[in-house]
């Protein structure tokens, strides 16, 4: 079946078409408004607040997507992110999806944004997920550990108590004069740095739960800069501090994830979200899974699916259809605080 995915939960307006067949999903085409020439698509109407101008971007984006085929492709269903996120942003996607589902007379399914990240590693992947599975979702806005007993069965076992891991990368990058957003900048600067140069805390690492905290690490980086009189324009200092910061973030994420995977005896470890584009985290997870979790399959998304996109929403929608995990379109509403639970 062909599914149109729509994602507007925060900054990005994104649409995609996927083909779901025999239990797996293949991307046919995916578009993200910020990555294409939106001026050309909307006829030049791009206000300064373009980042969240979903209203002006969504319909032209759907037309552009469907225009990629000489004959309009048949669409069997629509999947839309209805939460969590920013209410005003979510509403644009949800109402557009409802209108299209009504006009085309096709079923509509709601998808949780976190669930989208969770299925991002299943795009263009024919191997099925073996359950139980543990998912680490780690991005600029989220840091969560979710246990899955099957498709559509979710249990939140841990989350950040304050800042998300991606936010810690971004804000420490700002302190080091590397700009915002700074995840990729920190990871680049870290390449030449010494991970042991500065002693930074590993927040909540020794607590017997699966929660995270990154706010204290951010403050520790600030104190390091202040106490050691590090100049932001000193490349060696920024490199070493980047490497030390990244090592702290990666260690906490990896340790707690591996510990949870062992405790719940999972067969698959799934990772999703913008922070899994970070090579140090990818390498550390791969090494630890090999060493400590023999037989466990590690599913990492392709880098292009790590940031917010609609391909992952359509993919998650496909699995919701497979398990008949659907509610009436009239009941689908933008829900900014939607918690992904059973």
């Amino acid at each position: 079946m062909r599914i149109l995915g729509i994602e507007t939960s925060c900054d990005e307006t994104a649409v995609a078409l996927v083909e779901g067949k025999n239990g797996s999903v293949r991307e046919l085409e995916g578009l993200v408004a910020s990555q294409i020439d939106i001026h050309a698509v909307t006829g030049g109407v791009v206000p300064e607040v373009a980042a969240r101008e979903h209203v002006s971007a969504i319909i032209p984006l759907v037309s552009t997507l469907l225009g990629k085929w000489s004959k309009r492709p048949k669409i069997d269903a629509i999947a839309v992110t209805s939460g969590p996120g920013l209410f005003s942003s979510l509403m644009v996607g949800v109402e557009t999806a409802k209108a299209l589902a009504f006009a085309w007379d096709v079923p509509l399914v709601r998808v949780n944004h976190i669930e989208g990240h969770l299925y991002s590693s299943s795009i263009n992947e024919t191997k099925p997920i073996r359950f139980p599975a543990l998912a680490l979702i780690v991005s600029g806005g989220h840091t969560e550990l979710i246990l899955m007993k099957g498709h559509g069965s979710y249990r939140l076992i841990g989350r950040t108590k304050d800042d998300a891991a991606g936010e810690c990368f971004d804000k420490t990058a700002q302190m080091m004069g590397l700009g915002y957003p700074g995840g990729p900048a920190v990871s680049k600067a870290a390449l030449a740095g010494d991970t042991h140069a500065y002693a930074l805390p590993r927040p909540m690492l020794n607590e017997k739960n699966f929660d995270f905290s990154f706010s204290g690490l951010k403050t520790a980086v600030l104190y390091t800069i202040r106490n050691k009189h590090l100049a932001v324009e000193d490349p060696k200092g920024a490199s070493d501090l980047s490497a030390s910061t990244q090592a702290a973030i990666v260690e906490v994420l990896v340790e707690k994830t591996i510990r949870a995977a062992k405790k719940f005896k999972v067969k698959t470890l799934i990772v999703g979200g913008g922070v899994i584009a970070n090579d140090a985290l990818r390498a550390a997870l791969s090494a630890r899974v090999k060493k400590d979790l023999p037989g466990v399959a590690l599913r990492l998304p392709q880098k292009k699916y790590t940031t917010d996109n609609a391909v992952m929403i359509a993919a998650a929608g496909y699995y919701r259809f497979l398990s008949h995990n659907i509610i009436s379109p009239s009941k689908i509403k933008a829900d900014p605080n939607w918690e992904l639970v059973d």
Binding site: A51, G141, G166, E167, K171, Q174
Partner: protein
Amino acid sequence: MNSFALAVARTLHGGETLALTGELGAGKTAFVKGLAKALGIKQVVQSPTFLLMKCYPIGKNQEPRTNFQALCHVDAYRIKNERELLAIGLGEKIGDPGTVTAIEWADLVPELIPKNAIKIKFEHGAKENERTVTVTNNH
């Protein structure tokens, strides 16, 4: 920070804007976490930097009883233009008697801050766990 937040929570009637300022790590989010706790909000209050605005409902029968129904936690850190916050609906929250709005990095959006806002400035102290908090109330 929690006892300070509790003291602030006790003065709120609804419709107030709390304009929070201070550098990274100064305690703005920690203060709002404490405020939410003092208002009986059970949800985990996470940093709103990425989502820009998070609103937490306050139940009618929730303890302690309040005259308002929501706490909205806003963050101007990553926006480029004040209008971005109006575009996401902040204009309807500020001054709404059913809502208390706490805005982090309020100094970045001076035109959105009402004159009667309660201004709270957070500063790092001499010691690492020390913070200096200055409250200015023009009510």
